[in-house]
Structure formats: C-alpha cells, structure tokens
Amino acid sequence: MYRVYVVFFTFLCLLTASSQQEAKKEFTEALSQLMTQNMEMTIEIKEWSSNEKFKLKKYAVLMGQFKDVDRIKTVIQQPEKAKGITIVIEKTQGGTGIIEIYTPANGKTRKLKATPKNMALVNSGSSISNFGNIELDNMRFDPLERERYEEKDCFKITIWDKKDDSKGKTVYLVDQRTHYIYLVTEFNVDNSEKSTTMLSNYKKVASAPNKIQPMQIIHLDSKSSKKSEIAVLQINPRPNLEEVDFEVNKLVN
C-alpha cells in the first residue's frame, strides 16, 4: 500500500511540474512575439480619475537593449506645459540602475538611483515596457489552466515573483491559437484584485514580420478606480539604436 502512495505522489508531482513547464512555455511564446525592445513608438494616454475627470497625454518612447542593460527614453509631447520633459531609465538585469530626468523649464537634468519603488515613478505609463521587464527565471508558474474569454479559448497562466513576497500573483489570459495576451490581472498579497489590463487590436509591426503589438491597452486600477486607455499611434523597429540615442538632450523624432 505504501508503494502505491509513493508512486501516486510521484506521478502527481511530475504531472504538476509538467503542467508548470507547459505554462512557462506558453507564456514565453506569448512574450516572444511582442515587440518590447529596440523600437520607437508614439503613444497617446487618456486618463480618467475616479470622479470622471479626464487628462490627455502623449509620449514618444524609445526602447533599446544593450548587452544586459535595458534603456527606455520617454519624452513628453503633451500636455503642452510639460512638453520636452525627458525621462531616461537605464536598468540592469538585477533591477537597479539610473534614472535621468530633464526638465526643459529650468534646463536641469537630475539623476536618480533607480530602485523598484522609484522605477514606478518614471515608468511613463507605458504598460508595454512591463512585458520587457519580466525575468522569467525569477518567476514561479502555477499549473496551466484553460478558460474561455470573449468567446476565445485561452490559457490561464498564473505567475508569482519568487524574489518579492510583497507582490501577489499575476494572471494572464493568452489565446491558445494566436498566443495574444488579452487580459492581465494583478492581485495583492491578500488575493484582492489590484488592477486589470485589457489588450486588444493586435497588429503586425511593419518591418518586423514576426512581431505583433496590441494597439489598444486599457488599464483599470481597482483601488483608486482610475482608468487609463493607451493607444499606440505609431510603432517602428529600431534595430540600430545607439547609446547616444538615449541621452536626455537628444529628442526622439
């Protein structure tokens, strides 16, 4: 009888491990077709406060990878009074780095030591860059599940940050056929919902046949009830980016 239990338990463990591997594989495939590096894009962000007040922002974003350093440069185009504010994030694989902020009104550039906390400060509202930041080796996957979402068969992939206990799980709904990510739900540690991001209107990126991009991203913060709608107005691959392109005084476009 004891042997039966051991065999059954081992089988169960293997099955679970196999299911977790499957989840990681599907998720990697979904990420791999997204354009997250070496590109430039113009995004328009419509933001609504909890009391329905509205703000329109426009950013020019440049994203590049140099060995193990990721660089993101965001130049604010709108609102008019903030035009020219430039934020450059230089991030190493370990999550540390430097942030530079240029304010044209006083011509000053200030450097910040990038920490996970102030990285959020200057993340420029670009949820796209978040996909590029996922370090799969630091993630733990739950066994793969399946779910119907808007009449599509999807994988339900749940991942946890192994390094950060203060974060809850993140659940991705990925189309089983196309591997498009449709829905991202973040949870707090107590399993309450933190935010929901809906991705839609996927298009192939010109000059990069294997890459796709969701042209519309809707983000809803559960606690503050703030809503933002990101429209990608333009996206181009930039395979030949140089470090000089990420200097604060060198404007995009």
Binding site: K81, A105, N106, L112, V122
Partner: protein, 754 residues
Amino acid sequence: MQEYIIKYRFWIISVALALMLGALLLIPKLTVNSDVRDYVPDSIKNKVYLQELDSIFGGSEMILLMLHSEDVVTNRTLKRLEEISIQLGELPGLDRVISPFSVQEIRSEDGFLTMTPFFEGLPYEPVEIEDLKVRIESNIMARRFFSEDFTLTSLVLIKNTSTTDLIIDKIKEVVSNHPGEEEMLLGGLPFIRYSIEGNIMKDLIFLLPLAMILMVGMLYFSFKEWKGVFMPFVIVLMSIILSFGTMSLFGWQISLFSIIMPIMIIAIANDYGIHLIAHYQELAQTTSLPMKSICKRIYSDLRVPILITGVTTIGGILSLLSHTMKPAAELGVLTATGIAFALWLSLWFLPAMLSYFVPKRDEQRHIRKRTLEKKTSLHYLSLWVSERPRTITSLALLISIISIFGVLQLKVDTNIENYFSTKSEVGRSTSLINEKFGGSQFISVLFTGDVLSADVLHRMESYEEELLKDPAVGNISSPVSLVKELSKGFYSPEEEGYHRLPKNSDEIYQFIEIFSMGEEAEDLSQYLDYDYENARMIISLKDGSNSASKRVVERLESLTANDPNMQYAAGASLTDIELADVVVDGQLKSLLIAILIVFVLLSFVFKSLKGGLLSALPISIATLVLFGLMGVFGIALDIATALLSSIMIGIGVDYTIHFLWRFKKERSRGITEQEAVYNTLTTTGRGIIINALSVVVGFAPLIFSSFTPLRFFGGLIVISILACLLSSLFLVPSIILIVKPKFLIPSNKFTIQE
C-alpha cells in the same frame, strides 16, 4: 363633561392604552443620527461649499490616530505604528492611510536627485534615534506626523463619505491587535460624531430612568400615597412613548436634541396630574364624597386653569418650530405632542382611572385640614410680600438692569468640540491635536483657474505668511508647500531655487507633472484636482471657537479681496459660524413668538391686554436673568442652550396663570387685594412650589449628561424655573398690589365652589 368621563371611563382608558400600544410598536424603527452637519439647514452656504469641495478633491473626512508616550521616536513605538498602518491600509472603507512611512525624502546629492522613503529602517541605537529626530525636524512632510516634543506620533486616515462612522470600531480592533505601552487616541470629526452617537444612547439609557426615579421619589414625597405616584407616572410614561412613536411615524431620527424631549415631558407632563391629585387629596381629606364624585369635582374645578397652562406650555414649546435647525423644530413638535397627550390624559384618563379606586382618608383629617390652613412658611412669605410690594418691585427692576449688562457679555459658540468635557476621550484628543498638531479644525480655501501659475502660487504663499501670524492658525498646507519641497530635489541647498517657489510657471507645472507620475501622486489630490483647474489651501485652527474662525476668515477675505482666483473659504468651523447666526436668529424668533403666544392667549383668557402683559412680565424678567447669568459666567449660547428661553417660557408662565386664576377667585369673595394675595399664596402657592420643584427635579438629571451643552442646559433650566417661580410668588403679587389692575376685579361669573 365630567359625567361622560365617568360614564365612558372604560372606553377612555381603552383608547388611551390603544394609542400608547400603537406608538410602542413604532419605536423599534427609530434610528440615531449623530451627524451634526445634518442639523444644519441645506440653505447654509458653507454646507454647499463643503459638498462641492468633496466632489472636487475627493472625500476629506480625516481621522487622526495618535500614539502617546514620553518619547515616541523609539524602535518599539515606530514599529507598532508601522504595523498598525499596514493593517489599516487593508481596511475596507478607508480610502488612504497617510503615515510617516509613506513620506519620501527628496534630496540632491552628488548630482543625483534622491527620492527615498524617509524610513528605510527603524532606529535601534540612541545615536540613530537622535539622528532621526534631527531629520524629522528638517523634513516638512515627516514633521507633520510628530509633535514638537516627540510625545505624539500620528497616522492620518482618510475615510470616504459613504463609509459610516462605525469604522472607528474596526480601527480600534486593528489597534488592539497590536498592543503596546503607548496610549492610543483618536481625533477628527468622524470620531467626534461616533462619540456623540454612542453618548446619545448612553444618555438616554442612563438619564431617562434617573429622571423617572427622581420623579417617583418627588411624587411620593409630596403625596405620601401610591395613587399619587402611579397616576402621574403612567401619564408621563404614556406621553413619552407617544412622542417617540410620533417621531418614528414622521420618519424623524433620534438626534442630540432628542435627549431633552423625554426629560422635558417628565418635567412638564406630570404637572397637570399633580394639581389633580393634590385636589383629590384635599377633597378626600375635607369632604366625605365618594370617589366618582371626587373625580367629577376635580375635573370641573381644575379643567380651565389646567387647559390654559397646558395650551400656553404647548404654545411656548411650539415656538421652536420657527427655529432654523430642523432637530430643534422637531423637538418642538414632538414635545408639544407629548404634552398635548399628557394634557388629555390628565383631564380624562386620570379621573377615569382614579374613579376605580377607593379614596384614602386619614382618620385625623380634621386635624390635618387645620394644619394645611396654617402653613407657617407660606404664611410669613405671604405677609412679607403683601407688606413690601414696592421694595420687591424695585429689587426686580435692579436685578433686571444688572442682568442687561450680563446679556451684553453673552457669547455664541457652536464649536462641536465643546460638546465634551476636557477629561473625556474626545476632549483629551481634541486638546492634544490643538496643542501639538496645529489644530483639529480646518478651513479650506478654493482657488480656480490657472492654479499652477507662478502668479497664483506666489499670491497663495503671501496669504499663508500673513495668516500664520494669527495665533489661532496652526499649519497651512497647499500646493505651495509641495512645490517648495519638490524644488529641493532639483536644486542644491546653495542654489537660489532651493526650497523656493519657482518664478516660472512651466517649471512649477513640470515639477508637479513629474510628481504625479510617482506612487505618491495621491498626495496631490489633497491640494489639486485631477486637471489642475482647482487648488486648495488647508488652514488648520488651534482654536476652533467661533470668534477665532471668524477672525481668520475676515483676515483671509481682506487679503484676497482683489484675487480673481480665490473662490471661497469653507470648513466645518465655518459651518459653526453660520450655525451661530442661525442659533441667535432661531433663539430670538422662538423667544419673541413664545412671549407673543403667551401675551395673546392670556389677554384673551383675562379679556385684558394688561392681563397679557402682567402674565408675560415674570417670564420676561426670568429670561433676562437667565441670559444675564450666562453672560456673567461665560456660558455660551449654543445649539442646546439656545432652546432654553422658549422652553422656560412654556413652563414658567404656568405659575403666574395659577396665581392670577386663584387671586381672581379670592377677590370674588369680596376680600381686599392684600387678603387675596395672602390667601392665594398660602393655598395655590403650595401647588405652584410643588409644581416648580417637580420641574426642577425632572430636568436635574441633565446635569449628568455626557454632553457639556446639555449639562449647562440642565443647570440653566433649573435656574430659570426658579427665577420664574420667584417672579410669580413675589413680583406678580407686588405689581398687583401697586397697580390694582381692573381685569382682576371679580365679575359675577366667578364664584367659589366650596
């Protein structure tokens, strides 16, 4: 009518009991409303402004949680505060928990702008603690969470308006999960409202039985017969039940004012029964009439004076209808309903019930009768009054003149913080907040337009500098303080722009835009709306009194007179100012209407304007004495004490009516004025004194109320009733003896039924 009362006594009793049972069934539906803002009429401008500010900047209900000890900058205390703040952050109903642990320290260091959490670790060693204290003192954002002497540290909890004040219970539960040696104190309007709600029920549960016990004791002491206790007691109880039932029927809620209602009914509603029982005892002792005949006789003898006193009391109390504050007007209606029911019960139900009993007759009643006729103290009092009418009148005139000086000193103060004694939990936390955290009351000033322009912000800065010179002003926070703090991240201390407002509007905008991208962006919403069209300056007041608030607002208005961006100032303390005007307005209206009602009614009853004037005179003097004493002793007119005069007039006029009624009857026997005064004081005088004492005993429990205004109310009503009593027993007979008014000369209609 007396024949019908006895004939249909069963039906009268049944109808009364049915009405009471119907009302009793409605009582469980009653709810408590402790929100003083709801007492304020919607027409009050400040109430509208506050609602508008809430819609622009989000919920602004602040609860201050404080930890108090000799030194709060210790590892143990800070750790406890941090744990509490984390758990409170997860509490549904709280929008935000603003804690020292969310403060960012912005510095410019070696060319790097550093924006690090103020608390990156908690201090252990004494050196670390001393270093932390220095850092706290130099960081404006962290400093607001600590008192200057480091005996208090705090968390600011922001509650949305849809969350009930019962969240205080959950907050207390969270704190109890993290026990410690520090004393925990709560402050802020939601906590004050929560405490008011708890104390309203506590007061009702404690004061009502106390008033009942005192009333029973008073009745037994006066009548020495259980019938004399039982009858008025049942009438009072049924009247209170009917009033609360009526409150439920109208969909009204129990408010701070409602505590006074049953106490008033206890004090007033037994008066009519007292006169009837006293007369029943008199007839039982002096005649051999059977009970049914006694019941008919007490009704026919006393129905007119009881009806007049009842109607004048109801009229006086109904004058509260003119009060601008809704609960005060409701109090008027409900108490008048209860008293009207008590009046009907006294005139019909009491004789009907009494007729079922056997009269108690003392075997020594003839001896007792003789004793009754020789009330020595009343005998001497009557002689003294009838011999010195001019002295008494002059003395009354002198007291009135002195009282006028006191009235001129009378202050109006409706500050909600004063509802509690300084020893209570609310009182202690409020005084600590005022003393060490720059005040618990706030004034918000709204600016609209291009509020991030350098021009507007520099003007706001100049207003702040001027306002801070006022000793009542604690702190001022606005986009100005935030932008100045942000400038520390962009400039080095040696640069000109360090901790200064930029002169360039775009620079200000860009500072704010960068801050708005961060995780602490929520902090902006206190001062700026989402699209930067509105800005708010928040002024905290160490002194929440009406005079201090008024002074600060007047200064602000003079400073901003030509500012096109400044819209208005609003705040709970300003509601107090408008409320004070309403209170004074309501007080004056109620007072004049009450006196007018008394004057018209008694002019009609005595068919003489002089009769109306003479009846209104004692209550007018008592009113002067009351307000004079309040002025002299610095007792402010507030939402509770403002009800005093109308209630006092409603009750106090009864004594004059009883006196005049009896005096006229005595004169109809053909005796002189002096003899009539003597006879009235020695007979009806006793009833008047018992009546007044029963009212005093009824209201006395209010002295034990949890609310300071109600304690003052209890004390003052006792003083004012005594003033009415003295006026009726001394001044009214003195004036009659001097003026000899014609309306008191007997007509054929009045005959003594002996």
